[in-house]
C-alpha cells in the first residue's frame, strides 16, 4: 500500500488494527482456558502478555510513516487555537510580519518581472543580438550599430542564424486630424515573425513589400489606428501619411509594449537600392541599424559566433578602409532595462533589513512567551513527550504565524504593485511583465518560513530537556541568564539593523542636499523644452529645412510672454547627446587617442534662453552663417583640458566629424551639467563644444532636423504658453508639431529623481525600522522588569531608592543599545560603500551624519526605556514580595 493510500485509508486501517489485536488476545485467552486456567485470570494474563494496547497501536501507527503528518495537523490545530486565544499578540505579530514580508515580496515581484524574467517572445533563449566591435576603442567605447552592407553579408554567409535588422524611426503622422509625433520602427520583413508578434487584423510584412518599386506599407498599433480613424475597427487599407509619405496600412495589432521603443508604427527598412541617400549602401556609415537573430534548430551561440568571426575576417580583408579591425559579436538577447537593476536590488536589500528587524521583534515576543511556557513544556516532557517532538511543535507554531503573516503579505504586495510602478520616477521598463506568479508565491513562502525559523529557532531550542524538576519548581518565576542574553541579542540586532538603514537614509539625504545646491550651469526657471518636427515636406532640401526652422523660431517669438527662443539638438539633462572628437592641431592622433566632447548645435539666442554664463568672448550671432568663417564656443572644462588656461578665445580646434579645416573659438561659457545634477561629475566625457546650427554641413541637416528641439524662455509660468506656442508654430501647411513638452525645471528635478525616490523609500524604511526597534526595546525591557518585580521589591525593601532602580533599568537598556550601536556602525559603513557605488552623487558617510543617527537612536532608545524604568520604581515592595 502506498504512503498516500495509507494516509487516506487511515480510518479503515485503525479498525483492522483493532480487530487484529483483539484476535490475538482472544486466541491466547482461549488457549489458556483450554489449558485449564480460570477464564477471568486467562483474560488478565492474555492482556498482560500483549502489553498496553495503546502503546502497541502507537508502534503500528508509527510503522505507517504517516505519523508526522498527523502530528503536524495536531500541532497546527493547537497553534491556531492558541493564537486565537491571544488575539493581541497574534495581531501584532501577523501585522508586523505582513508588512515585512509584503514589502519584500513586492520588491521581489518587481525584480522578477523587470530583471529576471526572460523576454516575452516565444523561445526567448534562442534570440541573439549582434553588434559590430572594433579592436580599438575611444570615448564612445567600441560597440557599433551595423553598416547595412555588413549586415547583408552576415545574412548571406551564416548558416546557424536567421537575422533581421531594425532601427528606430519616429516621425510625424499627418492627414486627417491633428499632426502628431509617433515612435516608429523600420524593420526587415521577417522581424515581427521572428519575435512571434501576431497581427490582430490584416497581414504581416512579406518579402515582396520591400522589393524596389513596391508601394510603401505600414503596420500600426491598435491605439494609433483608433486615434487616427476614430475606432479600432475602422477598415484597413486607408492611407496614413507618415513623414509626408503616404503608407498603406496592411495590419493593425497591439504591439507597443513588446517592441523596442514602444512604436506606434512599423515600416520597412526598404530596399537599399531604392534608398535615396544611399546610407544603406555605404559600408562606412552606421545609420543606427540594429541586428537581432534567432538560432536555427540545433545551432548554438558558439557556432554562430564562429561563423560571424569568419565573415568579419573576410570582410576586413576585402574592404580594409571600412572594416579593418572590425568583427561581429553575437550575444543572447536580454531585456534592455537600463540601470534600474541597482536601484531595485538596493530597495530589496533595504526591505529585507526591515523584515529582519520585524523578525527580531517577533522573536523576542515569542521568546518571552516561551519562557513563561517553560513549565507547561517541562510538564509535558516529564509526562514522556520527546524533546524533538516538543521542538517540532514550537517550530510549527512559529511557522503557522509566519505563513499567516506571509499570506497577508502577498495580499499587501498584490495591492502595492500598481502604486509602486506609478510612483517610480519616470517609466519603469517592462512594467507590463510585473505580475504575481508562482515564483513570487514560492518566494513568499520561503521568506515566511525563513522568517519563522529566525524568530522561532531560539525559543524552540529552549525546550527543556534536563533538570525538569528545577524548571517545574521555579514556577516560571526566576528568569534565567540564558533567556536574558537572548533577549539582548534580539534587541541589539534590531538596533544594529535600524542604524544601517538610518545611515543609508542619512547619506542619501545629504547627497540630495548637496546635489540640489549644485550650479547646473543654466537658469532652470521659466524655460520650456519641446521636441519639434518641422513640416516633412521641408526636409527635402537643406535650405528649405533651414528656412522652416527660422520660421518656427520667428513664429514662437510672436507669442506674448515669450522672451527668447532657440533651437538646439540635445538638451541638457534629457536623454540624448552627441559626442565627437576634437584636437588642437591639424595632425590628428590615432583614432583611439582623440579626446571627446559633447557637441551641441544651437541657434544664437540659446545662451539667452538658457542663461549660460559667458566667461570670455561672445556667443553666436546672426552673422555666423553657412559660408562664413566656421566658429565654435567651448565650455571652461574644455578650455582647461585642451589648452590648460581659461581664456582660449581666438584659438583653433579641429573637429573631423564636422568637416575639414579648423574651427575658431569665439567664446568660452560656463560648464553645463549635461548629464544631470548627480551624474555629471562621474561622466566620462564632460567637455562641451557649441556650434551654430546655421553652419551645420548640408548632408547632416535632414537628420539633425529630426532631432531638434526648441527651448523657450518665458516671462510667465511656462506651462501657460504651451497651447499658444503649439498653435503658433503649426506653419502654413499646419503639419509642424511640438511633442515631449517639458520644462527645464522638470528635467533638472528628474535628473535627481532616482536619488529622491531612494531617499524617500529609505527614509520610510528607516523610520519604520526605528519604530520597530524602539518597540522591541520597550517590549523587552517591560518584560524583563515585570519578571524582576520580586527582585526589585527586595531591593526597595532593603533600602534602594527610586533613582537606583531607574539607573538599573537604564543601565540594562544602555548595554543592549551600545552593542547594537557598535555592530550597526560597522554594518552601516559597509552599506554606505555599496550605496556610493550604485547611486551617483552619494559620497562616503561623514561624521555629522553618524552623530545625528546616533542622537536620534539614543533619544528613541531613552524614550522606549523611560516607561519601564518608571514603572519599576513604582513597584510596591510589599506587594512584590507577596507575589511569590
Amino acid at each position: 500500500m502506498t504512503w498516500l493510500r495509507r494516509l487516506l485509508n487511515r480510518d479503515r486501517l485503525e479498525v483492522q488494527l483493532d480487530r487484529e489485536l483483539q484476535f490475538h488476545v482472544q486466541q491466547q485467552e482461549a488457549e489458556l482456558v483450554a489449558r485449564g486456567v480460570d477464564p477471568v485470570e486467562a483474560r488478565r494474563q492474555a492482556r498482560l502478555a500483549l502489553g498496553g494496547p495503546e502503546q502497541v497501536k502507537e508502534g503500528c501507527r508509527d510503522a505507517r510513516g504517516t505519523r508526522w503528518l498527523d502530528d503536524l495537523t495536531q500541532d497546527v490545530r493547537y497553534a491556531v487555537r492558541m493564537f486565537v486565544g491571544r488575539p493581541g499578540f497574534t495581531a501584532v505579530a501577523v501585522a508586523t510580519l505582513a508588512l515585512g514580508i509584503g514589502a519584500t515580496t513586492l520588491m521581489f515581484t518587481v525584480i522578477e518581472g523587470v530583471l529576471l524574467k526572460p523576454l516575452a517572445y516565444p523561445d526567448p533563449g534562442r534570440l541573439v543580438t549582434l553588434i559590430e566591435q572594433t579592436d580599438w576603442s575611444n570615448n564612445f567605447g567600441n560597440r557599433w550599430s551595423f553598416a547595412y552592407p555588413n549586415y547583408q553579408d552576415c545574412v548571406r554567409t551564416t548558416r546557424s542564424l536567421t537575422l533581421d535588422a531594425w532601427r528606430f524611426n519616429g516621425g510625424t503622422v499627418t492627414g486627417s486630424g491633428d499632426p502628431e509625433y509617433v515612435n516608429g520602427l523600420q524593420v526587415d520583413p521577417g522581424f515581427l515573425g521572428m519575435l512571434g508578434i501576431a497581427i490582430d487584423r490584416g497581414r504581416t510584412f512579406l518579402d515582396e513589400d520591400s522589393r524596389a518599386g513596391a508601394l510603401p506599407v505600414a503596420i500600426v498599433s491598435a491605439d494609433l489606428w483608433a486615434r487616427r480613424q476614430g475606432s479600432r475597427e475602422a477598415p484597413l487599407g486607408s492611407p496614413l501619411v507618415f513623414d509626408s509619405t503616404p503608407y498603406t496600412v496592411i495590419g493593425v495589432t497591439s504591439m507597443n509594449a513588446r517592441l523596442p521603443g514602444r512604436p506606434d508604427i512599423v515600416t520597412l527598412l526598404g530596399n537599399p537600392e531604392s534608398d535615396p541617400r544611399g546610407l544603406l549602401r555605404n559600408r562606412n556609415v552606421h545609420p543606427g541599424v540594429q541586428v537581432w537573430g534567432r538560432l536555427r534548430p540545433g545551432a548554438t551561440v558558439e557556432q554562430a559566433q564562429a561563423e560571424l568571426t569568419l565573415v568579419g575576417r573576410r570582410l576586413a580583408e576585402q574592404y580594409p578602409d571600412s572594416n579593418r579591425g572590425r568583427t561581429f559579436i553575437a550575444s543572447p538577447l536580454r531585456p534592455n532595462v537600463g540601470d534600474v537593476g541597482a536601484t531595485l536590488w538596493l530597495l530589496l536589500a533595504a526591505v529585507a533589513l526591515v523584515l529582519l528587524i520585524a523578525c527580531a521583534n517577533i522573536g523576542s515576543l515569542v521568546l518571552a512567551r516561551a519562557v513563561s511556557r517553560e513549565r507547561e513544556l517541562a510538564m509535558r516532557a516529564a509526562l514522556g513527550a520527546g524533546r524533538g517532538r516538543l521542538m517540532r511543535q514550537c517550530l510549527t507554531e512559529t511557522a503557522v504565524l509566519g505563513l499567516a503573516g506571509g499570506l497577508s503579505g502577498v495580499g499587501l504586495a498584490k495591492v502595492g504593485v500598481a502604486p509602486f510602478i506609478a510612483f517610480w520616477p519616470g517609466t519603469l521598463p517592462r512594467a507590463d511583465d510585473i505580475v504575481i506568479d508562482w515564483r513570487v508565491l514560492v518566494f513568499a513562502v520561503v521568506a515566511s518560513l525563513t522568517s519563522s525559523l529566525i524568530f522561532g529557532l531560539a525559543p524552540a531550542l529552549r525546550v527543556p530537556a534536563r533538570h525538569l524538576d528545577r524548571v517545574l519548581h521555579a514556577a516560571g518565576r526566576a528568569i534565567r541568564g540564558g533567556s536574558r542574553r537572548l533577549h539582548s541579542v534580539f534587541v541589539a540586532a534590531e538596533i544594529a539593523l535600524a542604524i544601517v538603514l538610518l545611515v543609508c537614509a542619512g547619506a542619501l539625504g545629504r547627497a540630495l542636499l548637496r546635489l540640489t545646491a549644485l550650479d547646473a550651469g543654466f537658469i532652470v526657471h521659466n524655460v520650456l523644452v519641446a521636441r519639434t518636427a518641422v513640416s516633412p515636406t521641408a526636409l527635402a532640401d537643406p535650405s528649405r529645412t533651414r528656412a522652416a526652422w527660422d520660421g518656427v523660431l520667428a513664429a514662437a517669438r510672436t507669442v506674448p510672454g515669450v522672451e527668447a527662443v532657440a533651437a538646439v539638438d540635445t538638451v541638457p539633462m534629457r536623454a540624448g547627446y552627441n559626442q565627437n572628437v576634437y584636437w588642437t592641431s591639424a595632425s590628428l592622433p590615432p583614432i583611439a587617442e582623440r579626446p571627446g566632447a559633447i557637441m551641441t548645435s544651437v541657434t544664437p539666442e540659446y545662451a539667452r534662453v538658457m542663461g549660460l554664463r559667458i566667461r570670455f568672448g561672445r556667443f553666436f550671432d546672426d552673422h555666423d552663417r553657412a559660408g562664413s568663417e566656421p566658429v565654435i564656443i567651448v565650455d571652461d572644462i574644455l578650455a582647461q583640458t585642451a589648452f590648460g588656461r581659461p581664456d582660449v578665445v581666438g584659438r583653433q580646434l579641429w573637429l573631423p566629424d564636422l568637416g575639414p579645416g579648423s574651427f575658431r573659438i569665439v567664446g568660452v561659457v560656463g560648464h553645463v551639467r549635461h548629464w544631470g545634477l548627480a551624474s555629471d561629475d562621474q561622466a566620462a566625457v564632460r567637455a562641451q563644444i557649441y556650434y551654430p546650427f546655421a553652419q551645420l554641413p548640408d548632408p547632416l541637416v535632414r537628420r539633425w532636423s529630426q532631432l531638434m528641439s526648441i527651448v523657450v524662455r518665458t516671462g510667465v509660468p511656462p506651462g501657460t504658453l504651451v497651447e499658444s506656442l503649439r498653435h503658433a508654430i503649426r506653419g502654413s501647411t499646419s503639419d509642424q508639431v511640438m511633442y515631449q513638452v517639458q520644462t527645464l525645471e522638470d528635467l533638472a528635478a528628474a535628473s535627481l529623481a532616482r536619488q529622491r525616490f531612494l531617499l524617500l523609500l529609505f527614509g520610510a524604511f528607516a523610520a519604520l525600522a526605528l519604530l520597530l526597534a524602539s518597540l522591541g526595546l520597550y517590549g523587552v525591557l517591560a518584560y524583563l522588569m515585570s519578571e524582576r518585580t520580586p527582585e526589585i521589591g527586595v531591593r526597595l525593601a532593603l533600602g534602594a531608592r527610586a533613582a537606583d532602580v531607574t539607573r538599573m533599568v537604564l543601565g540594562e537598556s544602555a548595554g543592549m543599545v551600545l552593542v547594537g550601536l557598535c555592530v550597526g556602525v560597522a554594518g552601516a559603513m559597509a552599506a554606505s560603500r555599496a550605496l556610493q557605488q550604485f547611486v551617483d552623487g552619494v559620497h562616503g558617510v561623514d561624521l555629522p551624519t553618524y552623530a545625528v543617527v546616533m542622537a536620534v537612536l539614543s533619544a528613541s532608545a531613552l524614550a522606549a526605556s523611560i516607561v519601564p524604568a518608571r514603572r519599576a520604581c513604582r513597584v510596591d515592595a510589599m506587594t512584590a514580595l507577596r507575589q511569590d
Binding site: M1, E20, F23, H24, Q26, Q28, L50, G51, V56, R64
Partner: protein, 114 residues
Amino acid sequence: MPPKSDLPQGTLDLLILKVVALGPVHGYAIAQRLQQVSRDVVQVPQGSLYPALHRLENRGLLAADWKPTDTGRDAKFYRLTRGGRAALESETASWRRLAEAVGLILRLSAGGAE
C-alpha cells in the same frame, strides 16, 4: 527454565520473515511458533511483534489478507512477497556470515587463553 535472551537488533524481522516463509500465518501463530521453535529461548515481546509486522508490510516484504481461521474467525494472514523472499535470503546469508565470524573470534580467544 533456561534464562531468556534479548533479541539482537534487527533479528526480529529476520525471524518473522522466516516463519512467514513457511506459509500464510496470522500474528498470534507467529508469536507461538517463534516461542516453540526456539524452545522458549526467544521470547518475542508481543508488544513489538505487531509494529514489526506492520513495518514489514509497509515496506512491501509482507502482504496480508483477511481470511477465516480453522475456528471460522476472520484473522489477518501474512504471507511473503517476492521482495520479502529476496530479503529473507540476503538477510539469512548475512546473518550466517556474522554468526560464523563471531564464532571464529570466540574460538580464537578461547584458544588464546589456553
